[in-house]
């Protein structure tokens, strides 16, 4: 231990003898834990208080996490520089700097990324603060709605970065013709559209995830994404979403809807971890064009991965701008329908929840259609509690609407085991109800088979085809065979030389019953909130 460990504070975490000295002879105060109150300048910082002091009281989590943290020399040097007199900035107090420094270091320490940062070039806390304040000021000037800088000061790490980006973005906007401008910033409407050829959006994602530098994107944007994902270098210790910095006060966000200035039609979805920047958010008139474009694309290409991503970013842009009107309803309805078509129940359920709230504010849309879907959705999830709550909400007028009536009939036919009626209703499902019913049709077929197999000795295949609404006998036979019932199907040649199939259901009863139970045990409730 080559350090002057004369003080008692150095015992806790300082156990690595190979650790090189963490300071040079420059008399810089490097502790964060105990700022001596009487101290005026820092050049006279007492020597008894060098770098290792910080290690004995981890900066990252002063009291609650007294774990061993070993600061690398780079970090300690960074801390040292932060307190050098030459680096001081007027107007930023030592206390603020100390706090900022703590924030910055703990941000990386919590994510075990201290090593992955280039500390020699990382901005000093006082610089971060200066930028932050300047930006906050600019923002208040630009946007009267966004008058609270508190909302910005919560994430020690993202903000300085985003401020830097901000200035860059501004230049971008002022020079739209510049070739360094990414394609989605160009003003020409047509050029903004990436005619997706299937792998294009994959590449977007890959770039964002791996942090590959591509000539297509400017450095700042990549940097921004890299940091948002925190995957850049330390893949394993990425920030889990629940760990991402949260605003201390929701109220600030509440009062400050963002006003977007972005003009691009397409935008990949990223989960926000910091307040959105207006330059990355698209205003409603752009979003409207986006929706039209997306609808067209969906019809033409049916690329769900791309669609879902685009819709999520669209929804996000609406949210951050507090846009809540008939257009919002349209967006959610569109996304819900696409998700239904694709059988993505998780995404569908999110949209459905939102739509319910939106309709409750009397926004125009298709409430009946979506109420019907909700009924069917709860049939699918077998959620009796939610179903009961939903039934409680329905007014007698609702129940006369054809879509809703259909859904309610579906529900009740299944509740009393009337499979005959159920499969007839399956055939006449209005709107996209059949997509939802597809989610549980197999389950109900097994249920009906279990039922039939207790009540009949044997039945003709045609009877099953008709009752369970298979397209034709072959489809029915395939269904039975795929469920391991082939040995119960008898083939006979009738008088006219045509093959006749009979199913010995009685013998298959226990098999169908266990299949039924398995199918119902497996209700997939992902996306359920």
């Amino acid at each position: 231990m080559a350090l002057p460990t004369s003080t008692s504070t150095s015992t806790v975490a300082w156990s690595n003898p190979l650790q090189p000295p963490a300071y040079n002879s420059v008399a810089a105060r490097t502790t964060l834990a105990r700022p001596p109150p009487a101290q005026v300048g820092h050049s006279d910082t007492p020597m008894r208080d060098p770098a290792f002091d910080a290690s004995s009281q981890p900066v990252a989590a002063p009291s609650e996490k007294p774990q061993k943290v070993e600061w690398t020399p780079e970090v300690r040097e960074y801390v040292g520089r932060a307190f050098e007199a030459d680096n001081a900035i007027t107007g930023i107090s030592r206390e603020d700097t100390t706090k900022k420094l703590k924030d910055v270091i703990s941000f990386f320490a919590e994510r075990s990324q201290l090593e992955s940062v280039d500390w020699s070039t990382y901005p000093l806390p006082q610089e971060l603060l200066r930028d932050e304040r300047a930006a906050a000021w600019v923002q208040t000037q630009n946007n009267p709605l966004l008058s609270s800088p508190n909302g910005l000061a919560n994430s020690a790490f993202d903000n300085p970065q985003s401020k830097k980006r901000k200035s860059q973005d501004k230049t971008d906007l002022s020079e739209p013709a510049d070739m360094s401008v990414p394609p989605w910033r160009r003003t020409n409407l047509e050029s903004r559209i990436t005619y997706s050829n299937g792998h294009n959006d994959k590449r977007h994602k890959k770039n964002a995830l791996s942090g590959d530098v591509s000539s297509k994107f400017d450095q700042a944007d990549l940097e921004k994404r890299k940091q948002r994902f925190q995957l850049g270098k330390t893949g394993i210790s990425s920030t889990p979403p629940w760990n991402s910095p949260k605003p201390d006060s929701d109220a600030d966000m509440d009062n400050a809807p963002c006003v977007g200035t972005n003009m691009s039609l397409e935008k990949s979805y990223f989960r926000l971890t910091a307040p959105p920047k207006p330059e990355t958010v698209r205003p409603q008139h752009v979003l409207e064009k986006t929706l039209t474009m997306l609808r067209k694309k969906w019809k033409a290409e049916k690329n769900y991965g791309y669609m879902c991503n685009q819709f999520k970013s669209l929804r996000q842009d609406l949210t951050v701008q507090h846009i809540k009107n008939d257009f919002t309803v349209k967006v959610y309805e569109s996304h819900a329908r696409i998700a239904l078509e694709q059988g993505d129940m998780g995404e569908y359920n999110q949209c459905q929840t939102q739509l319910k709230a939106l309709y409750s504010q009397n926004l125009p849309g298709r409430p009946d259609e979506f109420t019907a879907y909700r009924v069917l959705y709860f049939v699918y999830t077998c959620n009796k509690t939610d179903m009961n709550d939903l039934l409680a909400e329905l007014t007698p007028a609702d129940k006369t609407k054809p879509e809703i009536k259909h859904a309610i009939d579906v529900r009740s036919s299944l509740a009393v085991g009337n499979y005959h009626k159920f499969f007839r209703l399956y055939n006449i499902a209005p709107n996209m109800g059949a997509y939802l019913m597809d989610m549980f049709i197999e389950r109900e077929r097994l249920h009906a088979l279990a039922n039939i197999s207790r009540a009949y000795m044997n039945v003709g295949l045609r009877f099953l085809t008709d009752e369970l609404q298979f397209g034709d006998d072959n489809e029915c036979r395939e269904f039975l065979e795929s469920h391991g019932a082939s040995q119960f199907i008898d083939k006979k040649i009738d008088d006219h030389g045509k093959p006749q199939f009979r199913v010995k259901v009685k013998e298959a009863a226990s098999m169908f019953e266990s299949l039924r139970q398995a199918a119902f045990a497996l209700v997939d409730i992902k996306g359920q909130k």
Binding site: P275, A357, A392, V416, R454, A455, G460
Partner: protein, 455 residues
């Protein structure tokens, strides 16, 4: 002030938790105003201190401090209540008032919790706390209603992706629920080996308070955890020694929770227990128990309530009367009508989806009539009237006719649907036999074609 606290002294020396709780009641308003006028914001601590020290002789200083804090908090809460009352009279009651009342009352509850937790206040005060906590529930509900009125929709805050947040509209009640679960933990965790002084005696009444809250919040799943943690606790005082009121309420909730999870056997046992021990005079509670016990019995035992029981409870007669008589008669049209009429109330009580299943019994009764109407096989040689056999091969058409008549001719029932309904009966074990499509016949068992009905 001394006058206001006289009742407290009496209750305290009698060790009467209920009477003590009545000193912390906010009604009647006159009394509350008297208490409120007896001091003011600045002098409340001092005044309460004087009154308490004067009134309570010979008890520990720390306990005196506990009571001072309790009554000072109570005064502050009263202050907010009266402000809200005055605001209401002037027609300018806003959600702020209700929230302030709630917050002040919450402080009172936490003060209780603190002093009970560290053993300063005697163990029996936990029952006083129950009443105070129950009031917190009421204030929370009031505050939530006001908040909902003032702010009907919340915008998404933070970085959520969607426009409308799923933030609950019952913010305060949810907060109160968390307070209650801390009180519950306070009771459960009492390690006092002397059971007569244990806070465990309050476990069930606090649990009941939580149940009530969770039901209101529609987070019924949380009740399960509560029941589990009680069942897992080894050193609980004997169940029989708990007050009946606690036991009956607890059993009722356990029954309803099992009912909602469709565990009808368990529900039946619990509800029947609640029914058996319920105080005969509390009509409303007995009615509530029956509201779930009746549908439960329909499912588990295919049993309809006796006319006598329904007569005793006019409300239940209204609710279930028509339904029950249609089931008995096998009158499907009548059942559907009664079921549709009762739907709003059934849904509200969460028995709708369960009752729906009792249509099977009505159907069974109808089919049974067809079977009986078919009469007997001709007597064979050597057979006597006694052991003659019913006709067990019944044409499908007979059942079809019965069903078409039974459903009132409103909806057409086609032949396949008739088969489907019959298959259901067989599948559910309400009818024994099989369907033969070739012969268009239903072949029923010679013995016990309709189990449990005597034929």
């Amino acid at each position: 002030m001394e006058g206001a606290l006289a009742g407290f002294q009496q209750a305290y020396y009698k060790h009467d938790a209920l009477e003590l709780a009545s000193c912390l009641k906010t009604a009647p308003v006159d009394r509350l105003y008297d208490f409120w006028r007896s001091t003011n914001e600045a002098r409340v601590e001092q005044n309460v201190k004087n009154a308490i020290t004067y009134g309570l002789g010979g008890i520990e200083r720390s306990e005196v401090q506990g009571w001072i804090d309790v009554f000072a908090d109570f005064w502050r809460a009263s202050n907010k209540i009266i402000k809200a009352d005055q605001a209401q009279n002037q027609g300018r009651l806003s959600e702020r008032h209700s929230v302030e009342v709630y917050d002040a009352w919450k402080d009172l509850v936490s003060t209780f919790q603190k002093y009970i937790g560290n053993g300063t206040l005697p163990h029996w005060i936990i029952f006083t706390l129950y009443f105070v906590a129950n009031d917190l529930r009421k204030f929370a509900i009031k505050a939530d209603t006001q908040l909902a009125k003032a702010k009907p929709v919340t915008f998404s805050a933070g970085f959520s992706d969607d426009v409308v947040t799923t933030t609950p509209k019952n913010q305060k009640l949810e907060e109160a629920a968390r307070v209650f679960s801390r009180i519950f933990a306070l009771c459960m965790s009492d390690r006092n080996p002397n059971l007569s002084e244990s806070r465990k005696w309050a476990v069930y009444c606090i649990a009941n308070l939580q149940f009530k809250t969770y039901f209101k919040l529609k987070t019924i799943t949380l009740c399960k955890n509560l029941i589990k943690s009680i069942e897992a606790q080894a050193d609980m005082p004997p169940w029989n020694l708990y007050p009946k009121a606690h036991r009956v309420t607890y059993m009722y909730y356990c029954g309803v929770i099992a009912f909602l999870q469709e565990d009808y056997n368990k529900a039946e046992t619990a509800l029947f227990n609640a029914w058996a021990y319920c105080y005969k005079g509390s009509t409303k509670n007995r009615e509530l128990i029956l509201t779930y016990l009746i549908p439960c019995r329909l499912i588990t035992k295919s049993e309809i309530p006796s006319a006598q029981i329904l007569e005793e409870f006019p409300h239940l007669q209204n609710l279930f009367g028509d339904l029950v008589s249609s089931i008995k008669k096998g009158d499907l049209a009548g059942f559907d009508k009664a079921f549709a009429e009762g739907e709003p109330e059934f849904v509200r009580r969460r028995v709708f989806l369960t009752l729906e299943r009792s249509r099977d019994i009505a159907l069974r009764n109808l089919l049974r009539k067809v079977f009986r109407a078919a009469g007997y096989e001709d007597l064979k040689e050597g057979q006597t009237e006694k052991d003659r056999i019913r006709k067990t091969r019944i044409p499908l058409a007979h059942f079809a006719t019965a069903l078409r008549m039974g459903s009132g001719g409103g909806q057409r029932v086609d032949d396949e649907e008739v088969e489907c309904l019959l298959a259901n009966m067989i599948y559910k074990g309400l009818m024994k036999g099989y369907i033969s499509r070739e012969h268009a016949m239903v072949v029923l068992n010679k013995k016990g074609a309709f189990p449990g009905t005597g034929v």
